[in-house]
């Protein structure tokens, strides 16, 4: 498969994720869109690592990087869900727009 197809796919997923972050107001769905963006990045990294392999038989570091991205994403999810649960306890809502209104 040519690399630009992976580029297109990855960018489309990244764009849909970014769109979701911008238009959705439910904090959990926003967070899921962020996970989706991370996954599109991972896909592109693996594709590039295979290109590096085809070019000069290297490219293992691309896949190692994917491993690290997954690790960091897991850590981020732990903290993020804890924050969302904490917000829910106090406001009984996870609506980002509502949080803004409470402030004013």
């Amino acid at each position: 498969m040519q690399i630009q197809y992976y580029l297109y796919l990855s960018f489309i997923l990244f764009g849909i994720g970014a769109l979701g972050v911008m238009i959705r107001r439910n904090a959990i769905i926003v967070f899921m869109c962020i996970e989706m963006m991370l996954n599109s990045v991972n896909l592109l990294l693996v594709a590039f690592s295979k290109v590096q392999y085809a070019l000069n038989a290297q490219g293992i570091d691309g896949q190692i990087f994917v491993f690290f991205v997954m690790v960091v994403a897991a850590a981020e999810v732990t903290v993020g869900l804890a924050i969302i649960v904490m917000c829910y306890r106090n406001t009984r809502s996870i609506d980002i727009g509502l949080m803004n209104r409470i402030k004013n």
Binding site: F11, I16, G17, M22, C33, N39
Partner: protein, 167 residues
């Protein structure tokens, strides 16, 4: 075979991604996201990155998404108010994203003509760099230091989650 599988997985991935964003209830979003993770794992297998494919399913679909499901079910958020999107924001976000996508795709398209390497193949199902043995050797030889730093990162995340989660 590999080509048709690529298109199948890609179409399914994009459809699932659209469903994640447009689902009204968070539960459906989560389930569609799991579908998306499976299709991406399919892509990994097509590229012979077997270890990552398995880890993707175990970590993302298995652990992270189950955590999401737990939180959503725990909170039982079914407020119809939650899903009222503001139309202005939707239009703005949509426009911004479409512009972003167009500019990026344009860049890729241009780059394709100006450089040769962009036409390189992401070789499918060849090469053994994605196997557990090779990745493990690399990870514990050259990447030990970042690996240890990841341990620190995890510890801080655990402390943070416990601190916030405790009543």
């Amino acid at each position: 075979m590999a080509t048709s599988l690529f298109w199948l997985f890609s179409a399914l991935a994009i459809f699932a991604a659209v469903m994640v964003v447009t689902s009204r209830l968070a539960i459906y979003s989560i389930l569609w996201l799991v579908v998306l993770f499976f299709t991406i794992s399919g892509h990994y297998i097509l590229m012979n990155a077997q270890f990552l494919a398995i880890v993707n399913i175990i970590v993302y679909a298995g652990a992270i998404m189950v955590l999401f499901l737990f939180v959503v079910m725990l909170m039982n958020v079914n407020d119809p108010n939650d899903n009222k999107k503001s139309i202005g924001l939707a239009i703005f976000g949509g426009l911004a994203t479409i512009l972003f996508l167009l500019s990026i795709l344009n860049i890729v398209f241009n780059a394709q003509h100006t450089t040769k390497e962009i036409n390189d193949l992401a070789t499918t199902s060849t090469g053994d760099i994605g196997l557990v043995q090779n990745l493990g050797m690399e990870l514990f030889k050259n990447y030990v230091l970042p690996f240890e730093i990841c341990g620190v990162l995890f510890l801080s995340a655990i402390i943070g989650a416990v601190t916030l989660g405790k009543r």
